[in-house]
Structure formats: structure tokens, C-alpha cells
Symmetry: C2
Subunit: 180 residues, 2 copies
């Protein structure tokens, strides 16, 4: 995994992929699958929706740290599997053959098998709406990986994989943030 400029890290979340979020309770690391994410600033800042119904939530709020990892379509069953069991009784890294990699800034691990990883700090909790606000502080991208297509959850148990890419940089040039 190579370091990715933090100015580009919002592009990992902007297209709306399913993400894996790692947390560390102080005793152990866990992973949750989340589809409810949103960029809120290029700096980058993100909102994710989660709450006490997720076992990871307590560790996220207590430690104020997480890693957002981006799985690709070859990891679809892993992402669904991670999202349908609980860290309360499962070591998800072991169960799904995922490799935790130590980050530089936060205790929750990166996931080696993912296309990209971003170390994040929790900077706010909007309790009324179950929104957790994150700031990305370091990002990594695995350029050596052949499969780069991410996954989008529909929400009804079906998923769509990335198709063809279209370039509209010329039309959008006034709107593209610097460094992108």
C-alpha cells in the first residue's frame, strides 16, 4: 500500500462504495460493514451513520478512532459476511481471513486485502441522527492490485459493481478541488 495524498482521500468515499470500518476497543479490533457514508468536506471530512446497535459503536465513540477500508468486488462475500455477524462473539479478522496492518496515527488496523485504507479521527457525534463525523488524517492505496472495482449496496440484499468510467474533467474544471 502506497501513501495517497490526503487531498484526494475524499474520492474514496464520494462514489458511495460499501466500506469496512475497523475499530479498537483497547482490548481487540473489530470490523463493521457500512454503506451509509457521506463526504462532508474535501479536507477530508466524512459522516457515517451508526449507533449502539452496532457492536463497534462503543469502541468508535470511546476511542474516537477508526479506519475506513475500501473493499473491491472480489471481497463482496467478505463484506456481506462481516456485516451479518457480530464482533461480540466473532474475531472477524480471523473468520474472514483479513490481515490487520498497523497504521501510523490510530490504533484500529488497516486491512491489507482492501484497495484503500484511511485512518480517521472521530471529531463529532450528532446523536439525534446517529451521525458520526470523521476527519481523515492519512490514506493509503494499493496500486499493485488488479481488481479496483468497488461495490455499491442497493439496500435490498443486492449489490452493483462499478462499471465503465467517464471523464468530465474539462467540463468540471472550475469545481475540481486542488490536488485532484
Amino acid at each position: 500500500m502506497e501513501t495517497m495524498p490526503i487531498s484526494k482521500a475524499f474520492t474514496l468515499v464520494e462514489p458511495g462504495p460499501v466500506v469496512l470500518v475497523t475499530t479498537n476497543s483497547g482490548k481487540k479490533s473489530n470490523i463493521m460493514t457500512i454503506s451509509w457514508t457521506m463526504v462532508i468536506d474535501f479536507t477530508p471530512r466524512f459522516a457515517i451513520t451508526t449507533g449502539p446497535w452496532n457492536h463497534s459503536f462503543a469502541a468508535l465513540v470511546k476511542s474516537k478512532e477508526c479506519v475506513i477500508a475500501i473493499p473491491t468486488i472480489d471481497l463482496l462475500d467478505t463484506a456481506v459476511g462481516v456485516g451479518t455477524c457480530s464482533g461480540a462473539d466473532t474475531d472477524k479478522f480471523a473468520k474472514f481471513g483479513l490481515t490487520p496492518v498497523k497504521g501510523k496515527h490510530v490504533r484500529p488496523p488497516l486491512i491489507k486485502e482492501c484497495l484503500a485504507n484511511m485512518e480517521c479521527k472521530v471529531i463529532d457525534l450528532v446523536e439525534q441522527h446517529n451521525i458520526v463525523v470523521l476527519e481523515g488524517i492519512a490514506a493509503y492505496f494499493d496500486n499493485s492490485r488488479k481488481e479496483k472495482r468497488t461495490i455499491h449496496a442497493i439496500g435490498d440484499g443486492t449489490f452493483v459493481v462499478d462499471g465503465r468510467r467517464f471523464n468530465r474533467r474539462e467540463m468540471m474544471k472550475a469545481k475540481i478541488p486542488e490536488g485532484c
Copy 2:
């Protein structure tokens, strides 16, 4: 456009497509292109990130109403065009050949050319993070449309279209909300 059960309406936003958001200032309707959206509840509730830098924001906050319309890949240049000019000096419906259709519950119009439309009420504004919280109250889907592939913005001026769909309903059955 046929009515879509409101219990399924979150599935329009969950995969993270680029959306068009219509507003009405009392005098005229406008459209903005938004990629920063998130489901926050199945009921459905949504968060979108916007602020005073968007001409539509004043009408959105004042009227507390909008329509989320879902464009497909054949409308890519329309979505980019709508997002790169301002309602301050442009009638975007006229400029982009989009047809406003009267909704049942809110004053901002549906967009006839889109795959789906959802009438929404603004239920909260989290000013600190520029997050507007919406409740979807009625949804419509154009089943007669052949092109159903939506668009995902990367954020750097490129876009990805939906590819193949994968079914994991069996694996996820405990997690799929009723009516989906």
C-alpha cells in the same frame, strides 16, 4: 412514473448515485447536482451536505421542501451541466431540456426525465457540518425507462456507471428491512 412504496425509497440513495435536487423559492424552481448524500434511516431519512455556497440552499432552508431525482448515465452531461452553472442566472429546466412535473406533497417539481423521484421535507439542519436532514414522503419510479444505470461521482471530474448486479439476499435476509 409509478408510485414506489416508501419502504423501498431508501434504496434509491443507498448505492450512492449522483442526484439532482429540486427546490422552489416561492417564485421559481431550481435544480442542483449533489453527490454528498447518505441514508440515515429506512423510514426513509437522508442527510445531504450543502450550504450557502449553493444558490438552492436558501430556498431549501426557507421552504423546507425538495425533490431528490435520480438521473441515469444518459443524463451524465445534464447532471454535470446542472452542477456547473447557477440558478442565480440560469433557468436550468429550460437550459437542459428537463421537464418539471408537479408533485403531490411539495412545491419543488419532480423531473420527468429521471429514473426516480422522491418528494422530501427538511426535518433538521445540522449547521455546524452543513448537513440537511430530509424525510422522504413519496417516491416514484419510471419502470418504462430502458436505461436504469445510475452514475457515481469520483470527485475528481470522473464518474463511474453502474455495472453488473449481484444478489446476496439469502446471506443478508436477517438484515433486509420489511417490504424490500
